[in-house]
């Protein structure tokens, strides 16, 4: 490939394509066409942010973790505790504090576990999520235990927009949060740092050989991912004004992994598609027969793992590529 062609390739790789904005266009018109579904849409947005954080680890850094819910939980409970035990109900600062604490915990945890790999790493993250769940359960004087934390009161945004059960304020709040996270993620993965992370994923020893400091970079990306996960958790707490044990559960870790797999890891928009498909399908199918839903979900997940690697995004890419020929 000539130098000029390579430059064009690089430009195209990092340039913003028009279709990348479609999720936001769709979400923007939602309040006007489907008001009753705003709470569901807000939940989807929260999970998109959470899945994006997992994508950073699984898709871009190649670290498979069963314990990411720990950090969602740390963010969620921090936001709840600040409000209920601390009496502080300002939304944006609550989000930032929770994300920071979650990120710091991530850096700590990551520097411990990222020295191991594969099965041991998986087991460490698995033990971590069960441990976190038990601690949240036991420390009920601060976390509310099984009953969860109620009475979370987030002050109206800018003094005007109150959170209510119809969810309009919550929806716009979450949408703005998603926009910020998306801009940040996009910048990060297209940056030299992001590219080096992908290099580490593709071939760790080769990356080390060309001078990339593998472990420190992995710890940094782990910390960032945990901060975003905590951000998502705090967002959920503030919007639904409740936090319970599910926020730090193995079940949640498995769910978000499934969402990412269905959408496709390693391509930011997989993290958009996954939660949309999963939550919309769950909303539609699980109501009448939750058991049948579980069966179908299992079949889809097994099928994706066995045949459709890369999830929906890869499928779309393959169809786009074959039709472009």
């Amino acid at each position: 490939m000539s130098a000029a062609a390579f430059n064009t390739f690089l430009d195209n790789k990092h340039r913003l394509s028009w279709w990348e904005l479609t999720p936001f266009l769709v979400l923007a018109i939602l309040p006007f066409v489907a008001r009753d579904y705003l709470p569901l849409a807000t939940q989807i947005i929260i999970y998109i942010i959470f899945t994006l954080s997992l994508d950073l680890l699984v898709g871009y850094a190649g670290i498979v973790t069963l314990g990411h819910a720990v950090f969602f939980g740390i963010g969620a409970y921090t936001a709840g505790i600040i409000s209920v035990r601390g009496g502080w109900g300002e939304g944006l600062s609550g989000l930032l504090i929770s994300a920071t604490i979650s990120g710091a915990a991530g850096v700590l945890f990551g520097s411990v576990v990222l020295r191991t790999a594969r099965f041991t790493l998986l087991m460490l993250t698995l033990s971590a999520v069960f441990l976190a769940n038990e601690i949240a359960n036991k420390a009920s004087w601060i976390t509310g235990g099984v009953d969860g934390l109620s009475g979370i009161d987030i002050w109206p945004l800018f003094g005007i927009f109150a959170f209510d059960m119809f969810g309009i304020t919550g929806f716009i709040y979450a949408l703005a949060a998603l926009l910020v996270v998306w801009i940040f993620m996009r910048w990060l993965v297209h940056s030299p740092f992001g590219q080096s992370i992908a290099a580490i994923r593709d071939n760790r020893s080769r990356a080390a050989a060309i001078g990339i400091a593998v472990l420190p970079r992995l710890v940094v990306v782990y910390g960032i991912s945990c901060a975003i996960a905590g951000f998502a958790g705090a967002l959920q707490t503030q919007v639904i004004q409740f936090v319970g044990l599910k926020a730090a559960s193995f079940e949640l870790s498995a769910d978000v992994l499934i969402m990412l797999a269905i959408g496709g890891a390693g391509r930011i928009y997989g993290a958009f598609l996954g939660p949309v498909i999963y939550l919309a399908a769950q909303d539609y199918f699980a109501k009448d027969d939750p058991v049948l839903w579980q069966l179908w979900l299992g079949l889809i997940v097994m099928a994706v793992a066995t045949f459709a690697r890369g999830g929906l995004m890869a499928l779309l890419r393959r169809t786009a590529a074959s039709s472009a020929k």
């Binding site: 235990g145 099984v146 009161d153 109206p156 209510d164 059960m165 969810g167």
Partner: protein, 402 residues
Amino acid sequence: MYQSRLTRRSITKALFATPMILSSRIALAADPVKVGLIFTTSGPFASSGDLMAKAAALFMKHKAPALLSGQKIEIIQRDDGGPNPEVAKRLVQELIVRDRVQFIGGIQWTPNAFAIGPLLTQSKTPCVLMNAGTSSIVRSSPFFARTSHTIWQSCYPLGQWAARNKIGKAYTLVTDFAGGHDAETGFTKGFTEAGGSVVAAVRMPIQNPNFAPLLQRVRDTKPDALFVFHPGGTQTAAFIKTYAEIGLANDGIRLIGPGDLTSDEELPSVGPIAKGIITAHHYSVAGDRPANKEFLALWHQEYGASLRPNYMSVGVWDGMRVIATTIAANKGNGDPDAAMETIKKYRDDNSPRGPISIDPQTRDIVQNEYIREVRIVNGEPYNVELETIPAVKDPWKSFNPA
């Protein structure tokens, strides 16, 4: 701690939110009145939710048409999957906002009940609690009423009974959540007031696959009786088996507790080792009264001779009756305050469990409590009612005035 905070903000929210919801809920004469029911029909605790859902269906089939005389109801049933407060909250929110239900019913779990309180208050939706038993729940929203039971209702009289019946030292073992704490404090208060002493109070986590070391420790402490609270379901059978295996009965350590311990549907699989367990509760399938015979006849005709209903089924049966009579009385007009007024005056002398009523002050259930013993009748274990304590109001509320 669980009181809803009536701040200026929340009142403003309620004022603006309610007219929108209410106007959409006022049913036109021909529209069915929508009722949302939340049961746990999936996950590890699905067995109890299944019994509750079956009771609701049975009621709708046999009793509802006569009570409603033409007014149509539409039941929308949802599954909360267990003690999942955030799921319950989302389901109720959708039922209110999307499906525009006039009533919420069901709710098996205390945490779920607390989580939905603010939604009920904000949207002014009456909710009939058909199982959750923590005393303070009905105070967390003025739109809660309860047809099930409170844990104090059974544990406090049991404590008094125990002290009067040769049990001097008791060891309490409860699951570590609000319901378990209620059981522990209720029993301890009744027991110590009547002269007993509690030698140890242990709380165990809800997910506990390994009862053996816990019970070994009880054996080593040598109390006269072991008081246990476990929220029902499949683990209680495992617990009783371990109790027998560790040899506590042989040591003369009696097993007592609220009726959740010997839930009717689990007794057959526990078998004869349950003989002699003393419990206090408001319903047993062995209860000898005509209304119960009729209920059991309908149940077995529909669901087979081998499946037993339990106290949760009766909680739903009576709860559905409350909703149906309220809708009929107010002709489905969707007025939540009128509905709550009707509910507060509810009385039924012919429930399968005996006479019941709703206390207008507290919106909580008033009913008989029975001291029962597990006995083998016709080869099967049953909770045979020995003593009746009539018209028990929730004791916790009298010790903790609002």
